[in-house]
Symmetry: C2
DNA sequence: CTTTAGGTACGACTTGAGTCGTACCTGATC
DNA sequence: GATCAGGTACGACTCAAGTCGTACCTAAAG
């Protein structure tokens, strides 16, 4: 169960009860917006998102995103990689990523 | 501004920063799921949703949905009608309603 | 006019989520 | 081995959000 926890739930186990709360937070949504905009599923470092919170809080946010099934966290021990689960997300919620990209483009003033 | 407040924001003023938190709540999402499933934009009564909360709380939830631009509240004085803003929502978030319908169909166990 | 049902306004309570401080772990570098 | 940077675990704090109690408003029915 340890390895599976690191990679999040299966694609068919996605639950809107987890996805919507995950995307309700401003910081997590900004992470997903960035990931959605990067068309290559390139792996990114945790601190490449420039979140204005402490690293403990970042750990918390990335965990929420992982448990919602939106990202994978690749553990290198003293380093961590973040990768969008684009295929799974697109399969389950076809327009979700487009939605997030629209936010970045539309520029609706962030509260 | 009074009448506009009753009918929610314009379609182009939709903000994901309001939509996602609105749908993060279990009760509000169940309301939206029911509305999405009803293909005719029929007006529904407030208590036709059978929410397990007091009427004060229902007032609160419907307000949040209205302020997010997802529904209209028609005020009859001592009675109130709820109507999904299907056209506006579809225009801005094409697959959002399909997403909610999927939750009802997929039957992902509600927490 | 009185009563009644549905809805709202305001305020208070309570739970949950976001946040950080401290301590500890891991792997790389010296 | 010692040091250091990145990440995690645990706990505590704080604030927002969901909830309800009381009081008041509105329109319809008697």
């Amino acid at each position: 169960m340890t390895e599976r926890d690191r990679t999040g739930p299966e694609a068919d186990a996605f639950d809107l009860g987890a996805v919507f709360p995950a995307l309700a937070d401003r910081h997590r949504r900004s992470v997903m917006t960035e990931l959605a905009a990067d068309c290559g599923d390139s792996e990114r470092g945790c601190n490449s998102f420039d979140l204005p919170v402490s690293k403990q809080t970042q750990t918390h946010h990335f965990r929420v995103l992982r448990e919602a099934g939106l990202i994978d966290e690749i553990d290198y021990g003293n380093r961590k990689g973040i990768r969008l689960r684009r295929a799974d997300v697109e399969k389950r919620f076809p327009a979700l990523l487009a939605l997030l990209k629209a936010e970045a483009a539309g520029g609706t003033a962030p509260r």
